[in-house]
């Protein structure tokens, strides 16, 4: 079979897959959804006690106890510190690993272990890493920073090596044939080409980590979550609601800031269908 024949048969196969593949995919998605709902018995959920629960929560939380505002802001600040330091350490430590994990830059016997390493760090969510560090080094923000750092390495490391593998290969080939070393290729071609994606991913990671740093306090790893858990233990819902509102507002502000900064580094992403 000639190269041309092979190309034609591959194209025919692709067309057939497109014709029959899409309806099959939709059916598969639908069947899987119904199956999952059935297995989880979601259709038998009892909502009858919901209204009573809501009434109880409303009565216990309203009016909010505003005297905890200062405690909440202090907790929020600690959460932001944990997210910032954890993100910074995580991004810096992930860079060398993600470079080695990129298939277009290193041979498979180096990329494979690097990918496994990143996958292992991603297996546990940051809250479970926080449980481990609380056991190892005790409660407090240090456990939170370590937990966020480890999870960040695993999570952003994957995004980074995917960004490196998506780069245009011709500058790498051209500069490589000029006699550049691997270090020079990474420093002068790979990182400058990927820098905007890296900055954008770092912003996204920080935003993500703020939410998670708030949650990991629940297991004793510092931040505002630590205070939320404390008030929940004593059923002080009027205080809990104030702290939750602080987290909600902080996440909204950071989301918006992060979006604007990422748009700036990636170019204008504000294209709208409404135009």
């Amino acid at each position: 079979m000639s190269n041309v024949d092979r190309t034609i048969s591959a194209a025919a196969l692709r067309t057939r897959l497109k014709t029959f593949g899409r309806p099959l995919l939709f059916i598969l998605v639908f069947v899987l959804a119904v199956w999952s709902i059935w297995i989880l018995e979601l259709h038998q959920t009892d909502f009858s006690g919901g209204a009573d629960g809501l009434t109880f929560l409303y009565g216990a939380a309203i009016p909010p106890e505003m005297s905890v505002l200062e405690v909440g802001l202090r907790g929020l600040l600690e959460t932001l510190y944990i997210a910032y330091v954890g993100t910074l350490f995580g991004v810096l430590l992930s860079l060398p690993v993600s470079l080695v994990a990129s298939r277009n830059l290193f041979p498979w016997y180096l990329t494979l272990p690097a990918r496994w390493f990143l996958a292992v760090l991603r297996v546990l969510p940051s809250i479970l890493w926080a449980v481990i560090f609380v056991i190892l080094i005790g409660t407090g923000p240090a456990a939170g920073v370590f937990a966020i750092t480890l999870y960040t390495i695993g999570f952003i490391g994957k995004l980074e090596y995917e960004a490196f593998e998506g780069l245009d290969n011709e500058p790498i080939e051209a500069v490589s044939s000029l006699g550049a070393t691997r270090l020079q290729i990474l420093r002068f071609v790979v990182l400058p080409q990927a820098i905007n994606s890296l900055i954008s991913q770092t912003m996204f990671m920080f935003e993500y980590n703020v939410r998670h740093a708030a949650a990991i306090g629940i297991v004793g790893a510092g931040g505002i979550g630590y205070y939320i858990m404390g008030y929940l233990d004593f059923l002080q819902y009027d205080r809990v609601i104030v702290l939750l509102a602080i987290v909600f507002l902080a996440v909204l502000v950071i989301d918006e800031l992060s979006y604007r900064l990422r748009s700036f580094f990636l170019g204008d992403t504000s294209t709208s269908l409404s135009k």
Partner: protein, 242 residues
């Protein structure tokens, strides 16, 4: 390597991807200071051959020596220049930085890490930028330049590198006649000054004859024809696009 031995020599060379040969049994030499043009229809293997000579693809069979080094080993750093079809420039970087890439082989490990080039390299790079007519664009990002200007950046990089052999893939495609001529002039100047040998991929036979000493017409899995041309270096006319 003595200057008299040809910088590129191929004997029974087969090139292709994944053990699937595109061109087979190629035998040719490229002499010192000469220009060889590779012509042929799209997909005939021009770029594959060039990538093999550049050390990006391993030869499938036969022998190829580039600057006294048998492929797939790499020739001494800095002696081989390669300009791929899309020029291989780092689009987010400035013109000056891209041109300085031609001097990477002189840079030590610490300077590489810090991204610091010596002052004489910067002076040379600025001179090269001026010679290709891009003075005033040193700090412009390559992505902001036109296609013709980007090609000049690639040539300025070669000026700074001064390679013994330059491999260039379709340097003149999609350019108007005037711009193409200025690119050819830059290339000829560089060749006259450094005595480098050039292998250029060009799809237009008339242009190929005009700019080279030998034209190798590729097709049907090998070299179909060899044309020894008397290069007149006359102005390049409007390019036909594929």
């Amino acid at each position: 390597m003595t200057r008299s031995s040809p910088p590129i020599r191929c004997r029974g060379l087969s090139v292709g991807y994944d053990e699937d040969p595109v061109l087979e049994d190629l035998s040719f030499t490229v002499g010192n200071g000469s220009t060889v043009a590779l012509v042929g229809r799209s997909g005939c293997g021009k770029t594959t051959l060039l990538k093999t000579l550049a050390g990006i693809l391993d030869p499938l069979d036969g022998e190829a020596t580039v600057l006294s080094t048998s492929l797939p080993q790499s020739p001494p750093p800095g002696e081989l220049g390669y300009i791929p079809q899309s020029l291989g420039l780092v689009m987010h970087e400035t013109v000056l930085t891209n041109v300085l890439h031609g001097r990477l082989s002189d840079l030590g490990r610490m300077r590489s890490l810090l991204g610091r080039f010596p002052a004489d390299a910067k002076t040379e790079a600025r001179e090269a930028i001026e010679r290709v007519g891009l003075d005033g664009y040193e700090q412009s990002r390559v992505k902001e330049l036109s296609g013709g200007q980007r090609r000049r950046v690639a040539i300025a990089r070669a000026f700074v590198q001064e390679p013994r052999v330059l491999l260039a893939d379709e340097m003149l495609s999609e350019l108007d006649g005037e711009t193409a001529q200025s690119i050819v002039d830059c290339l000829v100047t560089l060749q006259q000054e450094t005595g480098m040998s050039v292998v250029i991929v060009e799809h237009n036979l008339d242009v190929a004859k005009d700019i080279s000493d030998t034209v190798l017409r590729l097709g049907a899995g090998g070299i179909e024809d060899r044309i020894e041309s008397v290069s007149t270096r006359e102005p390049v006319t409007q390019q036909s696009h594929e």
